[in-house]
Amino acid sequence: MHELGVTFYVVRDVKKVAEENGIDRIDFVTLEIGEVSGVINEQLTDCWNWARKKEKVTENTELIIENLEAVSFCECCQREFGTIDYGKTCPYCGGGNTYLLRGNEFNIKEIGVYDNT
């Protein structure tokens, strides 16, 4: 829902990294996005393709998204299960005392620059 807001964060952060490393052009940026982070890949890509043009260093940067699986943990039976499939209820014991282990990530994994040919 707030893809535009987080896109500005990505532009700001990668621009900073580029400046620190003396890079004047980023060819791609790879994001790690959890399945339950609330971010939709297509909307993020649309926002990116608009926002990247605001900065010279990102104007042609390709966005690569790697989705990370959401996994929850059941306190009752101490087992892990897929959050997307089962939500808050443990599929093994039916318990509701569960919490998210991972799947809420929004990380900038890496940026890349191709060699000049």
Partner: protein
Amino acid sequence: MTILELKQNIFKENEVTADGIRKELKDKSKLMINVMSSPGSGKTTTLCRIIEALSGKYRVAVLECDIDASVDAETIAKNGGKAIQLHTGGMCHMDAAMTKQGLDALGIDDVDIIFIENVGNLVCPAEFDTGAHINLTILSVPEGDDKPAKYPLVYQVSDVVLFNKIDAMEVFDFDIELAKERILTLNSNALVFPVSAKNKEGFEPLISYIIKKCEEL
């Protein structure tokens, strides 16, 4: 090809900025409360009631955050609060950097308590730490008691939840006990206070809580 590994959480810088704001305000003995809710739940009217109740004891300011317009800041100013209207420029929430800009523009030397009236939205504001000491969410009766089930995060991050418009209970199917149970399941530490901003009812426990938090700073 050159690859720079970052492994950097996008929210990290916001959290650092937010922690900085929180500490700076605490050092100056100023309390900041972030108010979140759907559009139309009565944020501005509720803030007017709080300002009235605290007047004479505490000087209150409000950062009004909307995508556009300045009607809320005008209402607050009429009710005796110091107010500044911030336009988020299409953004659906306030973040720590925007809060800092707002505080600088407002000037906080002559205030004791600052409220952020966040953009009316139950989703995005919950994701971004503003640097406030207290998160307060308003759930108004016409919205329905199912909102905590549908939008859990905003209730998970809230210290206080106000059920507003309880004067309209008779007209709507709002189960106050069920709504409370849904919130406490998500967040067992949340304090829940039913109020009517229109009829000025039920504010005593909230005002006592705010004063206690001010004194604890």
